[in-house]
């Protein structure tokens, strides 16, 4: 097998990373090979949102983004949000308070999608939240607690 590789430099959760990657490597595989297993593979078709991370602030499906696209850019994963359970991001805190997960497999992607929403729109309506999370599937909760958690996080972030 001949593989073409590219040397890339980017920022992952605030840390500069320079690495040689096979051009066909997916961003999701690169992250997981680095031990960042928060983003999950599931549908592999960009419809379930379990692999959502923020690339230069925008939510993307890491399962369908090439690792080389990280070059010169910044990626944030769920692991970058808090170093300890005492210092959670408001979205994480709200997910805990509302019990907005069960198995938790979709949760990292769900949290990153929600965080991207609140950065783009600090005062979303319920419909805005529903519209934004349409690309994030949860099989356990029935979504209600997730929508409530995002609205609560928005309020907390607005009130600083």
């Amino acid at each position: 097998m001949t593989m073409t590789t590219t040397r890339i430099s980017g920022t992952i959760n605030g840390r500069e990373v320079t690495t040689e990657v096979d051009n066909a490597t997916l961003l999701l595989d690169l992250l997981r090979d680095l031990g960042l297993t928060g983003a999950k593979p599931s549908c592999e078709m960009e419809v379930c949102g379990a692999c959502a991370v923020q690339l230069d602030g925008l939510p993307v499906s890491a399962c369908t983004t090439l690792a080389i696209e990280l070059d010169g850019r910044t990626v944030e994963t769920v692991e970058g949000l808090a170093q300890s359970a005492d210092a959670l991001h408001p979205v994480q805190r709200a997910f805990l308070q509302k019990s907005a997960f069960q198995c938790g497999f979709c949760t990292p992607g769900m949290i990153m999608s929600a965080k991207a929403l609140l950065e783009a729109n600090p005062s979303p309506s319920r419909d805005d939240v529903v519209h934004w999370l349409e690309g994030s599937i949860c099989r356990c909760t029935g979504y209600e607690s997730i929508v409530e958690a995002v609205l609560e996080a928005a309020e907390e972030m607005r009130n600083g």
């Binding site: 097998m1 066909a24 997981r32 031990g35 960042l36 297993t37 928060g38 983003a39 999950k40 593979p41 599931s42 549908c43 592999e44 078709m45 419809v47 379930c48 379990a50 994963t77 769920v78 692991e79 949000l81 808090a82 359970a85 959670l88 994480q92 997910f95 805990l96 019990s99 997960f101 069960q102 198995c103 938790g104 497999f105 979709c106 949760t107 990292p108 949290i111 529903v130 519209h131 999370l133 349409e134 994030s136 599937i137 949860c138 099989r139 356990c140 909760t141 029935g142 979504y143 209600e144 607690s145 997730i146 929508v147």
Partner: protein
């Protein structure tokens, strides 16, 4: 036992911080040093004899370690199955469904294995295939299993219709009492119809995956399984190993819902490890997961006979399940479907004939509700259709016939441990029944809990804290939190001083399964028994130093002095030490009568229908969680809403569709599960806590019941709006639009008649 103080409160989940921080490790996230990657070569046709497997090109690829086939691992018998050992992990002689694994390529990287898998050439001789279940049972149908698979003999599956199985009959059940023909003849109204429930894919978001390794003569497997002990048993049979030499470890599980009950990909990983001497990881894509397990579709022909005053006299069901190529758990689903079709109503006569058919399709198995949603569609819709024909309100018709607490719905079985009439009142009041259009609701009672075998090991440590090792799996339902609450109450300790270790067969006590909504009830009881045993041991130790020893919260009172557990242990050992208590429940005493408990379904919806497009919008969903006592109310609500939402998917959009012998939608784009925008604007979740369960503090299981009535409820709601009841799910816009067109002339006629 004293009134609980920790149980009954919505304590936050123990797994919460790890899950919101992305630190929770699932089997898929484990990094086993030195692991190679296995990718299956899958059959591209539904039914064919294997003539040859040419792996030479694949083996020549850099990074490829081995191409494993059933023949290459001989004399290992690659078949597995907990009810029938009929499922080869790698096809033997022939393939029985498109997507079946024929070989396993093991390579240094997953990508190398995937590439090599495409280079394996399998030559086949095609055989006629059968996809439809009724075709499969017809004379002259192509035979899937030339030698009919027998049963493993496990007593827990004695009711799976092992007798007189031939041809493509995977399992058969008959439940019968009374004089059916006489009751039918005496009836004033007989409702008759044929109902169809789709084949479903449960889509647990973590696809099946397992990593296996042989070390020191022991096979260890890390997997995303609900029943680690059942997987252990299958692997021990396959590799002829003592149970003590197979260890199955289950970390966090990314969704189960029954789809991860029993053995799935563990044998593939283990065969790869056996053949190569390396740890081997097999991680499926979602498409491969769809080709691993689905749920049984069903065609249900039903008759219900009533007197003109509404008295239900008799019911008659003839059910055919499409169970796919191998038994997996379908024989048990068959038994459950039969027992769950006719509902919690008094009947003079009943006949349920349920047959499970082998077909050349993905093997079917359990999915949340376990036969109940299929049977309930027919049983409850006939109550609604009958109500209209009798001119009796649909709620009143049910209240007239529903069993009261303690009454049997199956002769010889445990009487109903619930007040269904009261549940129905709560449900219909919430839905505004009688005050608005488009309402549907129903009742269900499931023989839940499975075979009541459960054990628990409680350790009280030298500092007075306690941990418990149990085999029940945390699937997201919250069992670790709930069982910790029960443990705290069982020992009179604060929640912060207890912990639960789960799902490592090398460490924890035996647990039969994590399914059938049994954990809180049955594991809770074995855990409390272990607590009692540990407290007895503590009293024995204290009695060596004191004349009078009495139980006290968190310790004992010895000769008038309160001693904590830790003080007793430290005094007895002199240094360090611990006390171990064991608990077990079995089918004996108060658990002699099956089922251990009845799981109640009392859910409903209010919908609107756009008759131009056929689109159904669920406006309101109400669940009544009749769980006896909610150990953790917030978690019960979570389970109820989750269960109801899953069945909303089956009601409105989910269906695996075969086009000829090919599954046409093996992905989550074309197989549409509920999204956030599908959720009702109003959700009402009610708890009915009457302390009438056999579990801790009067609890009984939940987590499936809330979904069991949703299919029929949505169909009834749509039927009431259109004037004609649908009898087939899912209610896609096209089906609803067609139904509206068919029903329109009837309604116009009625309008003319005034």
């Amino acid at each position: 036992m004293a009134e609980p103080s920790v149980s009954g409160t919505s304590i936050p989940r123990l797994d919460g911080p790890a899950k919101v921080m992305g630190r929770a490790k699932y089997a898929l996230d484990l990094d086993i040093p030195g692991a190679a990657h296995g990718v299956a070569v899958r059959a591209d046709r539904a039914h064919a004899r294997i003539i040859g497997v040419d792996a030479s090109k694949a083996e020549a690829l850099p990074g490829v370690i081995a191409v494993v086939t059933a023949a290459s691992v001989a004399p290992i018998d690659v078949r597995f199955g907990h009810i029938s050992r009929d499922h080869p992990a790698l096809a033997v002689d022939k393939v029985r469904y498109a997507g079946e694994p024929v070989a396993l390529v093991v390579a240094e990287t997953r990508r190398a294995a995937e590439k090599a898998a495409r280079l394996v050439r399998v030559t086949y001789e095609d055989l006629p295939a059968v996809i439809d279940a009724e075709d499969a049972l017809a004379d002259g149908a192509p035979l899937l299993h030339e030698v009919h698979p027998g049963r493993t003999g496990d007593e827990g599956f004695h009711n799976t219709g092992a007798d007189a199985l031939e041809g493509n009959l995977c399992a058969a059940n008959l439940i019968e009492w009374g004089d059916l023909e006489a009751e039918l003849a005496a009836a004033d109204v007989v409702v008759e119809g044929e109902y169809r429930y789709p084949m479903l894919y449960g889509y647990a978001m973590e696809p099946y995956n397992a990593t296996a390794l042989f070390e020191e003569g022991t096979l260890t497997v890390y997997t995303t399984a609900q029943h680690p002990y059942m997987v252990r048993d299958d692997l021990a049979r396959m590799f002829a190993l003592p149970l003590a030499r197979v260890r199955v470890v289950v970390p966090y599980v990314g969704g189960g819902y029954g789809t991860k009950s029993y053995t799935k990909v563990e044998p593939l990983a283990a065969l790869g490890a056996y053949a190569t001497g390396r740890p081997v990881r097999v991680a499926l894509s979602v498409e491969e997961a769809i080709f691993t397990t689905r749920s049984d579709g069903a065609v249900i022909r039903a008759r219900s006979a009533f007197k003109s005053d509404g008295t239900l006299l008799a019911r008659d069901f003839d059910i055919v399940m499409n169970s796919g190529a191998y038994s997996d758990n379908s024989p048990l689903v068959c038994a459950k479907l039969a027992a769950r079709a006719f509902g919690p109503y008094r009947l003079n006569a009943l006949r349920v004939r349920c047959r499970s058919a082998f077909t050349n399709t993905t093997p079917a198995s359990s999915l949340r509700g376990f036969g109940a949603p299929q049977g309930n569609l027919a049983g409850e819709l006939q109550m609604d259709e009958a109500a209209d024909r009798l001119g009796i309100d649909a709620r009143e018709l049910r209240l007239l016939n529903v069993v009261r607490p303690g009454e049997e719905i199956l002769p010889g079985k445990r009487g109903i441990d619930a007040d269904l009439a009261a549940d129905l009142e709560l449900l219909t009041e919430s839905l505004g029944w009688g005050e608005r259009e488009g309402v549907g609701f129903g009742l269900a009672a499931s023989d839940a809990g499975a075979h009541p075998t459960s054990t628990a090991l409680v350790r009280i440590h030298g500092d007075g804290s306690a941990s418990c090792a149990i085999g029940a799996t945390e699937l997201g339902q919250g069992s670790r939190t709930v069982l910790s609450q029960i443990l705290a109450d069982g020992l009179g300790l604060p929640f912060e001083k207890v912990s639960i270790v789960q799902s490592d067969t090398g460490v924890v006590a035996y647990e039969r399964t994590t399914g059938a909504s049994r954990t809180t009830t049955l594991v809770g009881r074995s855990l409390l028994a272990a607590c009692d045993d540990a407290r007895r041991r503590i009293r024995e130790l204290a009695a060596e130093y004191a004349a009078d020893v009495q139980d006290a919260p968190g310790g004992v009172v010895a000769d008038g002095e309160h001693l904590s557990y830790g003080a007793v242990i430290r005094k007895w050992f002199g240094s360090g030490g611990e006390v171990v208590g064991v608990g077990a429940i079995r089918r004996h005493g108060e658990f002699e009568k099956l089922p251990p408990f009845w799981e109640i379904g009392a859910s409903g919806v209010a919908v609107s229908v756009d008759e131009e497009t056929g689109r159904v919008v669920v406006e309101q969903l109400t669940t009544v969680g009749d769980v006896g006592f909610a150990i953790n109310p917030l978690l019960v609500h979570g389970q109820d809403l989750g269960a109801a939402t899953m069945t909303l998917g089956a009601a409105l959009s989910e269906e695996l569709v075969y086009d000829g012998t090919t599954l046409s939608n093996p992905n989550v784009v074309e197989y549409r599960v509920p999204r956030v925008s599908d959720m009702p604007a109003k959700i009402d979740q009610i708890l009915a806590e009457r302390r009438d369960g056999i579990g801790p503090f009067g609890a009984k299981g939940g987590g499936e019941g809330a979904g069991n009535t949703i299919g029929a409820a949505v169909a009834a709601a749509v039927g009431r709006l259109l004037g004609r009841y649908p009898r087939e799910l899912p209610l896609t816009p096209e089906r609803v639009w067609r139904l509206a067109q068919e029903a329109a002339p009837d309604r116009e006629t009625e309008a003319v008649r005034g």
